[in-house]
């Protein structure tokens, strides 16, 4: 109940302090309000009166003004709250009364504060006259130098204050008392609930776990606290039960583990890092030949059981156990009590968090060792046989390697020769190009001087001389055309342009336009099927077509020449054919015609250098195709050559399919 007492005392204190505060602040405020209010009212009335007085003064003079002041003063005193007001006029000259309800006009004003009022010109003043505390508003008027003052007794002015204080004081006091009572009541109820909570907590503390707070009437902060306490009790009770159950389970499990250890056929012992064996099962004791009494007496140390050659392994495994809490099982031996040795497999694990103690499992390896020995002897015999077989294989292998080596050397020689061949070929081409190019200049000189000789000295020469010159000129011309062709041929290798998709029909049209005159001359009929687009050097392709068509026209029979150009899709790509009805070629010449400078006919029958088809062959081969001829004398000739198709040549596929379906 101590808190309750404090609460009550505090409430009473607050009631007293608040009441006093309200009253004192109230007095202060009401005083301020009353003063301000009075000042405003009085000033308003004074200004009002002043206006009337001065109107009267300016109209009818001093006596009339004084009369007006008297009448105004009386009227003011009739007003509520202004019963004690006094209106007065005093003039500055010698402080004489112009009008004052208590004095005659012309009397000297006997007030000490009049001087101060004149000096301040306007404002408010408080003074005590004849024992009456008075408050006055005043204003001076120029240029007449009059002081108008309206005063009121403070008793009347502050009349409202007492009433206010009484009423406000009582209301405040009553309200605060009620407040205090309510607070006290509320506090008492709260404390009762806190007491119930404390009682419950006490019971729990004494072990009465089923204790609960019986009633929680309101769910406020204390209600929540009480609910929390109840929930906490619930949890404590539940936890305690759970813990007891867990302990029981633990005990049972421990017993089971004990059983597991004791009855195990594998030797198990508990060790520490100092070398002690703390505990062990019967299997282990049997293995090393000690009894349980000796174990209980602490006479068994695993360090003493270990023969000296295994100490290093033990130290290493000890490190492993420290590091990883466990170790991979390893084989070692233990001394028995009788001094004999027993081979064992030992695995160990450290108890979690102990750092010093652990468990070890020991398996007797005596039987396994015997089996191993037997196995090893069988294995050794097998090994000998395998070695013999292996040495045979090695010999065969060496022979094979030697042969491979030889083959490799032969291949390398071949590659080198191929490379040299290609290089010499390129050099030859270059040589041919340079030679033919450089031969042109001196040849041209020979020809032009021969012509000059013929022109100037034709008259001076006899028939033989002219004939010789003709031969010389003809020779020079032939050499010129030979060199031209040679140059063309060599250029195929050296001045090749880039391969690009080329429309053969367009190229053919260009070629035919160039051959127009030759065709017209011999009245040849040339028919050209639509030709595909292939990847080609356009200039060389034109050369190819031109050479073949020129050939067809050149080697014509007596019939009027007809040439047919076509292309068809084959597995090798596009196969072009140039067919004529000319003189044809005997089968034995079908290869020779493609060799450079090979001619089948005399120059007089068919002019030419014999290089045209060699050029054709080279062009086709450069484009990755092949060229051949099908002919018989008098039957006409068909030159065929292939060019690879473009990767996306749909026309080829379509035509090939059509051909297939027809077949």
């Amino acid at each position: 109940m101590k808190i309750m007492t404090k609460l009550n005392l505090m409430s009473i204190g607050i009631v007293v302090v608040m009441t006093v505060s309200v009253l004192s602040v109230g007095i202060w405020i009401i005083n301020d309000i009353l003063y301000k209010f009075s000042e405003q009212v009085l000033r308003l009335e004074l200004e009002n009166a002043g206006k009337t007085i001065f109107q009267e003064l300016n109209r009818s003079g001093v006596r009339a003004a004084a009369a007006a002041a008297e009448s105004m003063g009386r009227q003011l005193q009739m007003k509520p709250g202004l019963h004690t007001t006094k209106l007065a006029i005093i003039e500055a000259t010698d402080n004489r009364i112009v009008y004052h309800p208590d004095f005659s006009p012309g009397d000297r004003a006997p007030f000490a504060f009049v001087g101060e009022m004149f000096q301040r010109e306007r404002g408010v003043i408080e003074y005590t006259l004849d024992g009456i505390s008075t408050y006055a508003v005043f204003v001076t008027v120029q240029p007449i130098d009059w002081l108008l003052s309206l005063s009121i007794s403070k008793a009347e002015m502050l009349e409202g204050r007492g009433l206010f204080l009484r009423e406000v004081g009582i209301i405040t006091f009553v309200v605060l008392c009620m407040n205090a009572f309510l607070v006290s009541l509320f506090g008492w109820r709260l404390l009762k609930r806190i007491g119930a909570t404390a009682h419950c907590v006490n019971r729990i503390e004494k072990g009465e776990l089923s204790a609960r707070i019986a009633t929680i009437p309101v769910r406020d902060e204390i209600g929540i606290l009480q609910e929390g306490v109840n929930a906490m009790c619930e949890r404590i009770e539940q936890r305690t039960a759970e813990q007891q159950e867990a302990e029981k389970a633990l005990r049972e499990r421990e017993a089971r583990i004990r059983r597991l250890v004791d009855s195990n056929i594998i030797g198990i012992f508990l060790w520490d890092m100092q070398g002690n064996i703390v505990d062990a099962n019967d299997a282990f004791l049997r293995l090393i030949g000690y009894d349980r009494e000796e174990l209980a007496a602490g006479e068994i140390f695993w360090t003493r059981l270990t023969p000296p050659e295994f100490v290093a392994a033990d130290v290493q495994k000890g490190e492993e156990v420290r590091r990883t809490q466990t170790c991979t099982p390893y084989e070692k031996e233990f001394f028995r009590k009788d001094g004999t040795r027993v081979p064992i497999l030992l695995g160990a694990a450290m108890f979690e968090g102990s750092g010093e103690t652990g468990v070890a499992f020991v398996l007797d390896l005596t039987e396994r060792r015997a089996a191993e020995a037997a196995l090893r002897s069988a294995h050794d015999q097998l090994e000998i046989r395998v070695q013999e077989r292996t040495s045979d294989l090695k010999r065969i292998n060496q022979r094979l390697e030697f042969e491979i080596q030889e083959r490799k050397q032969a291949e390398e020689g071949l590659a080198q020769r191929t490379h040299e061949l290609a290089r010499s070929n390129a050099e030859l081409e270059q040589l041919a190009y340079v030679a033919s190019h450089d031969l042109q200049e001196p040849l041209r000189m020979i020809a032009s001087y021969l012509q000059l000789l013929e022109k100037r000295y034709a008259g001076k020469l006899d028939a033989d001389g002219r004939e010789f010159i003709d031969y010389a000129v003809d020779g020079a011309r032939r050499m010129q055309s030979l060199i031209d062709d040679l140059l063309t041929f060599s250029r195929l290798g050296t001045k090749a342009q880039v391969m690009q998709p080329t429309d053969c029909s367009k190229v053919m049209a260009l070629v035919l336009r160039g051959l127009y005159l030759a065709v017209q001359e011999c009245g040849a009929q040339i028919h050209c099927d639509p030709l595909p687009v292939v990847m080609a050097d356009q200039t060389q392709l034109a050369q190819l077509f031109q050479n073949l068509i020129t050939n067809a026209i050149k080697f014509r029979s007596d019939a009027s020449p007809m040439v047919r150009i076509a292309a068809e899709p084959t597995e090798e790509g596009w196969c072009f054919s140039v067919e004529d009805n000319g003189i044809g070629i005997a089968p034995e010449y079908r290869e020779r015609i493609f060799v450079m400078f090979q001619r089948l006919h005399g120059r007089r029958e068919y002019p030419g250098t014999g290089i045209g088809l060699a050029i054709c062959k080279k062009i086709v081969e450069r484009h990755g195709g092949r060229i051949w001829v099908e002919s018989a004398p008098g039957q006409g000739t068909i030159f065929r050559f292939t060019l690879p198709r473009l990767p996306d040549d749909t026309q080829h596929d379509r035509l090939a399919e059509e051909a297939g379906s027809r077949a």
């Binding site: 003064l57 300016n58 109209r59 009818s60 003079g61 001093v62 006596r63 009339a64 003039e91 000259t93 010698d94 004489r96 012309g106 240029p143 007449i144 130098d145």
Partner: protein, 331 residues
């Protein structure tokens, strides 16, 4: 008719003053002095102007400009002064129609580097004041004059122009002080305003005579007013029994002085006032006016500026007209 003519002349003067170079044709005057009466076109200020002109002739290096409004309105005076300030005269001397309203323009003139002084009607702000007469001296003179007739114990009344007129207010104050100091037996029963109106003064006097049986004397202030009071007393047959004393001009009071209704009229010498004002303005422009340091004002002799609440002042001596000397003065 003459009033209109004078107004036109004044306007011409103003025009001349405003036109730079026009006034400088003859000799170049060193100081330009503006002298402004309360109004133009009344005999009193014509008399003043005689003195002004006389002084201007004596001061060759000063140009004196006489200008004023056609009615006694302070607004007109302010307007005229506002238009004069930009021409930068050396001094403006104003007979203010309102001591307070004129202050603003006086300050403005000073801010423009012009000396601002007052004469006749004072201003609440000025560097120098040439008073008509000393207020105390005048008040004392009036009280002495009336008690010579009524004796030191009597009921008297006062008629003034208005309670705002500064001269009259000052005289009334001086009268009261004199009474309180020397003749406490004299009782002022009432003070009434009559404006500058002979008729109103006549009416008030008749009212006084009707309502105040014990009345022995009336002090009448404001030049036109004593004539009205004198007429009322004379008509009531009380000439010689009710004393009439006041300030007025010799022209207005000559008859009443001669027939004995009025024995003494107090005033100052109007031309002398103009004369003194111009001399003071001239010395103010030269910076030679200092309180307590005597200066010579032409034929009027030596004057000593008195320090007062605002700055300093001088005043003319009181001039008393009686039937013996009234014919010497004409204004």
């Amino acid at each position: 008719m003459t009033g209109l003519l004078r107004t036109i002349i004044a306007a011409a003067w103003l025009l001349l003053a405003l036109l730079p170079g026009a006034a400088e044709s003859a000799s170049e005057p060193k100081y330009r002095l503006i002298v402004m009466p309360k109004l133009l076109g009344i005999a009193y200020y014509d008399a003043v102007k005689r003195g002004v002109d006389e002084a201007a002739r004596e001061l060759p290096d000063a140009e004196v400009v006489w200008m004023g409004p056609p009615q006694d309105l302070v607004g007109k005076q302010i307007e005229m002064l506002e238009s004069v300030i930009p021409t930068k005269p050396n001094v403006i001397a104003v007979a203010a129609n309102d001591p307070v309203a004129i202050v603003q323009v006086m300050k403005k003139a000073q801010a423009a580097g012009i000396h601002a002084m007052s004469w006749d009607g004072d201003s609440r702000h000025r560097e120098f004041f040439v008073n008509l007469v000393d207020f105390d001296e005048f008040g004392t003179g009036l009280i002495e004059a009336i008690q010579e007739e009524t004796g030191p114990k009597a009921d008297i009344a006062i008629i003034t122009t208005s309670f705002t007129a500064p001269n009259q207010s000052s005289w009334i104050e001086a009268i009261k002080r004199r009474i309180y100091a020397k003749y406490p037996g004299l009782k002022i029963l009432d003070i009434r305003p009559a404006g500058e109106s002979t008729e109103e003064a006549y009416r008030i006097t008749k009212d006084y005579l009707r309502t105040m049986p014990t009345l022995k004397g009336i002090i009448v202030l404001g030049a036109p007013n004593p004539a009205g009071a004198a007429r009322a007393v004379k008509e009531a047959g009380l000439a010689g029994k009710i004393a009439v004393v006041g300030n007025s001009t010799p022209n207005l009071m000559r008859n009443y002085l001669k027939d004995g209704t009025v024995r003494k009229v107090l005033l100052w010498n109007a031309p002398d006032h103009g004369y003194l004002t111009v001399h003071c303005a001239y010395l103010l422009a030269k910076g030679e006016l200092k309180p307590g340091v005597p200066f010579k004002a032409g034929r009027l002799g030596m004057f000593t500026p008195k320090k007062d609440a605002l700055s300093m002042r001088v005043a003319l001596p009181v001039l008393i007209f009686t039937k013996e000397n009234v014919d010497k003065h004409h204004f």
